[in-house]
């Protein structure tokens, strides 16, 4: 099952599926990227539950319901403690905002600096989800909404929360990949809806013409 097609509502064999297949390598490797991050042979020291929780968080703060439901279902396969899921959902509500914002390097671009939410997990929820995942949620929020504010200190905070260098690379890829996957699906969905309307308009026009002949 191609996840981008699923999220965008693209039917196999449809016109848009055909257009996507002109970039077959891109389509197949977007799917392989999903598999590498979410169904790897070896999860290493980045647990499945943490990966799916981060994905559910990232999709939800994009306010993309299809992606959010998809990753919450993945999460439910490995984590079913109600208080844990409630803590994650509470954090999603606390994390919502609009981006991109952030500061540019000091200089002529400073005129474009835009302030915004500096998100931190609430203490009561940090105790529930654990310090490692809490640090990753804060990092994911930084990357999604104000990536230009990223600093070496943010990476240092992950190191101090127990993240290895290998796992930080995978975490960065996971959040950054989701930014791509969710945007690709959202864009293709808009295009697919538009093509669907064109197809039904054409069909309606065709039926009208037939009736005229009749």
């Amino acid at each position: 099952m191609d996840v981008i097609n699923l999220l965008a509502g693209i039917e196999p064999g449809s016109g848009l599926d055909g257009i996507r297949s002109r970039r077959l390598q891109a389509r197949d490797h977007a799917q392989k990227s999903y598999l590498a991050l979410f169904e790897p042979a070896d999860f290493g020291d980045f647990a499945a539950a943490d990966r799916y929780a981060l994905a559910a968080f990232v999709a939800a703060i994009h306010r993309e319901p299809a992606a959010s439901s998809f990753y919450f279902l993945k999460l439910a396969e490995v984590e079913d403690r109600p208080h844990w899921l409630a803590a994650l959902k509470a954090e999603i509500e606390r994390a919502e905002t609009e981006g991109p914002y952030g500061a540019f390097p000091a200089g002529p671009l400073s005129a474009e600096d835009k302030a915004g939410l500096i998100y931190q997990v609430a203490n009561e929820n940090r105790r529930v989800v654990g310090g490692g995942l809490a640090a990753a949620l804060e990092h994911a929020h930084l990357l999604i909404f104000h990536p230009r504010d990223a600093t070496s200190a943010a990476v240092q905070a992950l190191c101090e929360a127990g993240w290895s260098s290998d796992a930080i690379v995978t975490l960065s890829q996971l959040v950054a990949f989701l930014s791509f996957q969710i945007r690709t699906a959202a864009g293709l969905k808009i295009l697919g809806l538009s093509l669907g309307r064109q197809t039904s308009d054409t069909a309606a026009a065709g039926e009208g013409a037939e009736r005229n002949h009749g």
């Binding site: 970039r23 990227s33 306010r63 981006g99 991109p100 990536p147 240092q156 190191c159 945007r183 295009l191």
Partner: protein, 202 residues
């Protein structure tokens, strides 16, 4: 502590968007070229990428690096059909401008200039951002990239209409979506794992 970041001097930090060559300095130790196994070499796809600290850092997770690299190459370099290279690079550069990735913007603005021969227009986009007037066709591409770069995503039917009105067909539009979406991936890696420097050799 098992690991910690590498801190660099800010002395050579770029402060404006440029088409000049920049360097990039990682905050975590990349793998050394001598440490690379066959799995890492396969993930790099092009052996020349082993010269880059960025790719040797990403090689710490070779599975996702390989899939990402092959996605990238098809979106930007498969020119059998679809949107001209220059305009895919414009979408990448505009996305990078809006997210604030000076390094990515420098590379892809340069590519957009090389392929379009419109260096001044590309520079205007870097200087003025999404509001720059680059002519109807480029304006439509930049606006679509900007809408796809917002969180929540602001891309809508009106963007499709504008892209169609300046001559893009559905396959071209898929290239715009792919290009802008892909740079939302690339920008977040380059911004969060290291920093740009005006020392191009770095």
């Amino acid at each position: 502590m098992a690991n910690s970041v590498v801190v660099h001097s800010r002395e050579h930090q770029p402060v404006v968007f440029t088409q000049e060559e920049l360097g990039w300095l990682p905050w975590l130790e990349p793998l050394a070229e001598a440490e690379l196994t066959e799995r890492h070499w396969a993930a790099l796809v092009d052996r020349s990428r082993a010269k880059s600290a960025y790719f040797r850092l990403l090689a710490r997770d070779p599975e996702i690096l390989e899939a990402r690299t092959r996605t990238d190459k098809d979106i930007f370099y498969n020119t059998a059909d679809g949107l001209p290279r220059a305009e895919r690079e414009l979408a990448a550069a505009a996305t990078s401008r809006i997210n604030g990735c000076l390094y990515c913007a420098s590379v892809h603005a340069r590519f957009a200039s090389v392929h379009s021969k419109r260096r001044m227009d590309v520079q205007r986009m870097l200087d003025e951002g999404r509001g720059a007037d680059l002519g109807a066709r480029w304006n439509a591409i930049v606006r679509a990239a900007a809408a796809l770069t917002s969180t929540p995503i602001a891309f809508a039917e009106s963007h499709l209409q504008e892209l169609r009105s300046v001559g893009l067909d559905d396959a071209d539009i898929v290239d715009v979506i792919n290009g802008a979406a892909f740079f939302n991936w690339a920008n977040r890696l380059m911004l969060s794992l290291g920093e740009p420097t005006t020392l191009a050799g770095a």
